[in-house]
């Protein structure tokens, strides 16, 4: 499903952020991506949904070479990928339910369908009662859960979650992870970047460790 061949990413004047990364993630896999702060986890995820281009190397997502996508092809790639951003990236001037629904709106779903599916996801993350709030009125953990609901709402074939539980208490963390596992069980390929050693040890899954842009272990 996801393949990286000798991918490097450099910003001028700095040490490379990703350094010759080669990886293969199969369809339906669940993968932890871990590593210290600044290791390049978020950068790696960004490359997968084409928010940035690698300096060198090739990336295949769902069989397509991401580097060869046209300007018009990018949105269609992204619609098959749900992303939970580390900084949430919620639309400030839209309510919670509108934010979650936006991922469906771009697909051209009908208003009633958007609303129904968005509310269902919000219920799963425990935020149905905040549906009409604006994101700035939410607590950090609530914002994070809205971001998770949005990523899941259109049943993407790939789910990329960047530190999705950093602002959640242990109880919520487990229930959110259960949502990710459920999606995975329905066939979604899931990649979760996390620092939380507790999670890694509680849920044994394939774990890719990055350090200074290099893959240091993969098991």
């Amino acid at each position: 499903m996801i393949q990286l061949f000798h991918v490097s990413k450099c910003y001028p004047g700095d040490a490379p952020v990703l350094d010759d990364v080669t990886l293969r993630i199969e369809k339906g896999e669940f993968v932890w991506l871990t590593g210290p702060s600044g290791a390049g986890k978020s950068t790696l995820l960004k490359l997968l949904f084409c928010a940035d281009q690698p300096t060198s190397g090739q990336i295949l997502v769902g069989g397509r070479n991401v580097g060869r996508l046209t300007q018009a092809g990018v949105p269609f790639l992204r619609r098959n990928i749900g992303v939970v951003f580390q900084d949430f990236k919620l639309l400030e001037n839209r309510t919670v339910v509108e934010n979650v629904g936006y991922a469906l709106e771009v697909l051209g779903a009908s208003d009633s369908e958007i609303r129904e599916r968005a509310l269902r996801r919000l219920e799963q993350v425990g935020l149905k009662h905040k549906a009409t709030s604006l994101p700035l009125r939410l607590s950090g953990g609530e914002q994070q859960r809205v971001a998770i609901a949005r990523a899941l709402v259109n049943e993407p074939t790939i789910l990329l979650a960047d530190e999705p539980t950093g602002n959640l208490d242990p109880g919520l963390t487990d229930s959110i992870l259960q949502l990710l596992f459920d999606a995975n069980a329905r066939g979604t390929t899931v990649v979760v970047a996390t620092h939380d050693r507790g999670l890694l040890s509680r849920y044994h899954k394939r774990t890719i460790a990055l350090d200074k842009g290099k893959v240091t272990s993969d098991a």
């Binding site: 300007q71 949105p75 619609r79 639309l91 001037n93 936006y102 771009v106």
Partner: protein
Amino acid sequence: MIAHVAWRLSRRAAVNLWRAPLPSLVSVLTIALALFLGMSFAIGLAFARSLLVSWGAQASITLYLDPATTDDQARALLARVLESEPDADAVYVDRAQALRRLRVDLGDLAGALDGLAQNPLPPTIEVTPRGSPEPAVVRVIAAQLQRLPQVAQVDYGREWLDKLTALGRSLRGFGLGSLIAVLGAALLVVANTIRLAVYARRDEIEIMKLVGATDGYVRMPFLLEGALQGLLGAGLALGSLAAADRWFLPRVQQAFVFASGVAAPQILLSHALLLLGIGALVGLFGSWLAVARFLRT
């Protein structure tokens, strides 16, 4: 599909206007000012030119008759004038009438005439060409009347007519030039203001793209809002023009008595529609440019 997307986007445009009115407000105001200026400039120009034309047209020709002319001779002459210039009105003003007029014109200064031993004014025939003849035509008529007997001197305000002609020509060139320059500058400001309004929402554009919206889908609500802002701006400009027309112009009307005979500038429905159309286009196009700028990054 298209219809319900359009409906959804219109709803969103309205909601955005409600939740964050400032950027839209500024765009609307700027567009309104630009259109108001352009429009009043154009109206002022048109008015000034029609004023000049009317002044040129009012240019009457005065035939100063030989002081020795009798009333009968003068009346016979008047008939000849009317006959030879079918496109003109003419009246005979005798010496006594001329003196009375002068007294009235002089007002407080009329006392200066009291010392006169005899009426020094010659009788005149005043010829007023009908329609709005060009200055050149007025000149020919004057030259023809000059040949009539008993006509001592023909006066048709040659000097002033020349000045008006030159002023009219310069208004055409200068006015149009500066209209274009000012409109260009105003458009530049409008475009940049819209860009600033979009800049204030650049995060939104980024997020929309990251969540899988096509460029077109991101652009759409901005275009719609831009067009709406343009329409509102044009409406505001029209409203201000109408208000100026209604409340401001009458106050300076007395200063414009000299312009009686020139139709007051009128905002026609077609002008209003044109202005609304221009407003919508400006808003639309400005938003397009602005969004394109942030879509690229």
